[in-house]
Amino acid sequence: MLDNLTQRLSGIVKNLRGQARLTEDNIQDSLREVRLALLEADVALSVVKEFTAQVKQAALGEEVIGSLSPGQALIGVVNRELTKLMGEHNDALNLAAVPPAVILMAGLQGAGKTTTSGKLAKLLREQNKKKVLLVSCDVYRPAAIEQLRTLAQQIEVDFFPSDITQKPQDIALAALDFARKHHHEVLIVDTAGRLAVDAAMMEEIKQLHAALKPIETLFVVDAMTGQDAVNTAKAFGDTLPLTGVILTKLDGDARGGAALSVRHVTGKPIKFVGVSEKMNGLEAFHPDRMAQRVLGMGDVLSLIEEAQRGVDHVEAEKLAKKMQSGKGFDLNDFKMQIVQMKKMGGMTALMDKLPAQLSQAAAGAKVDDRQINRTEGIINSMTAFERSHPEQIKASRKRRIAAGAGVQVMHVNQLLNQFEQTQKMMKMFSSKGGMAKMMRGMKGMMPGMGR
C-alpha cells in the first residue's frame, strides 16, 4: 500500500484537499505524478501522453460532488479512465464457428505461447466441455514440438504430431483436416516466436492465418515487456487481424504497463492472463484489477474513503511516519494500528483491497478478527512503560498482563512475537520495494503456492 504511487497519490490528496474545484493549475503537478507512475510501470510513453491528456480533459469537465475532495475526484478520474482503457468488462473467447473453431497463437520468443496453448486447451475442455486438438507449427526452436506434446499429454488433450522437416502451413492444414475428420470442436495452433522486424517470419504467420482462417488470433505478450510493446503490438496488429490479447507471467512483480500499451495500440481486448507456469494458471482478465495493478495502488479509492470515514487523520499520519522509518514503532502504535484496522472493517476486509496479485499472495494468510480483539485487550492491561518498552516485558510482567487481560501467558507471548514480526515488516515496508518483498515473504511461508 505504501509503494511509490500510493505515496504520490496520497500526496495529491493532501495537496488538493480544501480546494474547491479542479483547475488546469491545481492538477498540473498531480498529473505529472501520474505520468511518472505510469512510466515506471512501463506504459509506453506515447500512450502515457495520450492518457494523461484524456484524464486532464475528463477531470476538468468533472463536477466535484458532495463529500469528495478534489484530490479524490482526480484519482477517481485516473482510475476510471484507466479501467475504461483496459476494456471495462471481460471479453470471452469467440468459438462460434463451423467446427473446428481455430485459435492461432502469435507473439515474440519466450512470451508464453506454448504454455498458454496448453492452458487454453485445458480450460476449454474443462469449462466449456470442448473436444480440443493441439498442434505445434514451431519447427524452429529446439524441442518446441516436444514441449507442446508433453503438455498435451499432461492435460490429456489430443495432440497432432508434427516434425521439423515439415512446413508450418502444411502442418496446420493437416491438423485442420484431422480435426474435421475426428470432430474436434477447437483446434489450437501454436506457432514459433518471431520478431516483428523479421519480415520473412511475419509473412509466414500471415500465410498461416490465411490458410487457417482462425476465429481467434491471439497475441501473447509478457507482462514484463517494456516500452517496445507498442512497436511489437503494432507490427503484429498490422500483419494479422488480431482478435484478442493474452498477458502472461502476471504472477511476477511487474506492474504490467505493457497491458495498457498493447490494448491501446491494437484496440483488442485482453481475454486472459497467465498467472503460473502450471496448466491451471490461466484466468479471465479483470480490467479494474489490472488498472489498479498498473497504478500500484490497490483499491486506493475505497481505502481513502474508508480511511476518511473511520480513521483519525492526525493519528494515521503519525503512524505512517513511524511505519516509514521503522523506528520507534512500539506497542502503543501497534495497538493504534489494530484499532484503526477495526474501524476499517478488520484485516480480512483490508486484504480484499490490496491489488489483485497481492491479495492473491496473501490469500490463506487469514487473519482472525477475534484475535485482534484479544490483542487489544492484552495491550490494554499493560502499563505505559511496558507499551513503549516491549523488550522489558519479562516473565513476571507477562503473568500480570495475562491475568489482567484474562488470557494465558502463551497469548502474551504470541502477541509479543506478532509485534516483533510487524516491526520487522515495518522495516521492510520502508525499504524500497518493501511491499513486494513482504508479500514474497508471506508467500514463502505458505505451502502449496506456485509450483
Binding site: L39, E40, L45, Q147, T225, Q227, T232, G252, D253, R451
Partner: protein, 317 residues
C-alpha cells in the same frame, strides 16, 4: 574520441553487416528521431531536452537514469559552452558511455578448470539458447565444454538443451530425476573426471516472486560448491531486452539470492533497445558479459559499451 558517432561503428565489417545492420534497422525509428531532431538545427532549449528524454524513456532507460543522463548533458553544455544542437548528440553519447563503460568487463575463464558457469533468469529470457551459443563461443576458443540440463521442470527443457548439445557436438549431462542440484552436481563431477574446461549449467526459469523457487536455486548453487569448492565461478543472469523496468528488480532479487557476477542481454536483434541496462548501471551495476542478437549458434557478442550506445541512440554515419 567519439569518432564512432560519425562513421559506421566497429572494424570487423563481415560481423557488422549481420547484427549491427539489423540492430540499426530495428533502431531506425529512434535513430531517425534523433537525427531528425538534431538536423533541425536551432537552439538548445527545454524542448530539445524533452526530446532527449523521450528517446531515453522509450528505450526503457527509466526515469532515474534518464534524469542522471540529462543532468550530465546539461553539465557538459554548461562547462563546454556548447551552443550547437549537433553537439548535444555527442554529449548524450558521452554521458551514456560513461555510465555503461564500467559494465564492459569480459568473462575470463582461464583461471579455473573446470570453470563452472551457472545461468539463471526469469521464464523465457533466453537461458537455454544462450548456453547453446556460449558452448560455441568457448569451443571456438579451443576449450572443451560440458552442458548440464538443470531445468528439470519445464516441458521438454532437457530435450531443448540436448539439441543445443548436438549442434555443438558436446556432451549434455541429464537425468530423469527432478532434482536440478543433483544433475549439476553430477555434471561438475563428470567435468572433473573428463578434464573439461567449461561447464555450463542450465536452470529452470523462475519469477523472483516465487520464494520457494528462489530457495531452490540457492540450494543449486550450494550443491555446486560441494562438488567443487569455489564453484560456480560465474553466475550469469539472463535478461530479455524486451523487458522494461522489471529487469531492475530481477537483477536485485537474483543478486540477493545468488550473488550474480555477470549479465547476458538477449533479443537485441528486435526493436527493443535494452536501455534498462542503463538503469541497472545506475542502480545496481553488474558486468554485462554478452549480448544475444539472434536465435542461431553464432548470435552471441561480447558487450562493447560504445557499440551499444551507438545502437541505442541509433547513430549512423
Amino acid at each position: 574520441m567519439f569518432g564512432f558517432l560519425k562513421k559506421a561503428p566497429p572494424t570487423d565489417t563481415s560481423e557488422n553487416t549481420g547484427w549491427l545492420a539489423r540492430l540499426k534497422t530495428g533502431l531506425a525509428r529512434t535513430g531517425s528521431q534523433l537525427s531528425e531532431l538534431l538536423n533541425r538545427g536551432g537552439r538548445i532549449d527545454d524542448e530539445l531536452y524533452e526530446k532527449l528524454e523521450t528517446i531515453l524513456i522509450t528505450s526503457d532507460v527509466g526515469m532515474d537514469a534518464t534524469r542522471l543522463l540529462l543532468a550530465d548533458v546539461r553539465r557538459q553544455v554548461k562547462e563546454q559552452k556548447l551552443t550547437e544542437v549537433v553537439q548535444i548528440k555527442e554529449a548524450l553519447a558521452h554521458a551514456l558511455l560513461k555510465l555503461l563503460q564500467p559494465l564492459a568487463q569480459p568473462l575470463l575463464t582461464d583461471a579455473r578448470k573446470p570453470f563452472v558457469i551457472m545461468l539463471c533468469g526469469v521464464n523465457g529470457a533466453g537461458k537455454t539458447t544462450s548456453i547453446g551459443k556460449l558452448a560455441k563461443h568457448f569451443q571456438s576458443q579451443g576449450k572443451s565444454v560440458l552442458l548440464a540440463a538443470g531445468d528439470t521442470f519445464r516441458a521438454a527443457a532437457r530435450e531443448q538443451l540436448m539439441e543445443w548439445g548436438a549442434r555443438n557436438n558436446v556432451t549434455v549431462i541429464a537425468q530423469q530425476s527432478g532434482d536440478a542440484a543433483a544433475v549439476i552436481f553430477d555434471a561438475v563431477h563428470a567435468a572433473l573426471a573428463r578434464n573439461i574446461d567449461v561447464v555450463l549449467a542450465d536452470t529452470a526459469g523462475r519469477l523472483t516472486t516465487q520464494a520457494h523457487l528462489m530457495e531452490e536455486i540457492k540450494k543449486v548453487k550450494r550443491v555446486i560448491a560441494k562438488a567443487l569448492p569455489d564453484a560456480p565461478h560465474e553466475v550469469l543472469l539472463v535478461l530479455d531486452a524486451n523487458t522494461g523496468q522489471n529487469a531492475l528488480s530481477q537483477v536485485k532479487a537474483f543478486d540477493e539470492a545468488l550473488n550474480v557476477t555477470g549479465l547476458v542481454l538477449t533479443k537485441l536483434d528486435g526493436t527493443a533497445k535494452g536501455g534498462v541496462i542503463a538503469a541497472i548501471a545506475k542502480a545496481h551495476p553488474i558486468p554485462v558479459r554478452f549480448i544475444g542478437v539472434g536465435e542461431g549458434l553464432d548470435d552471441l557478442r561480447p558487450f562493447v559499451a560504445k557499440d551499444f550506445v551507438a545502437a541505442l541512440l541509433g547513430v549512423e554515419e
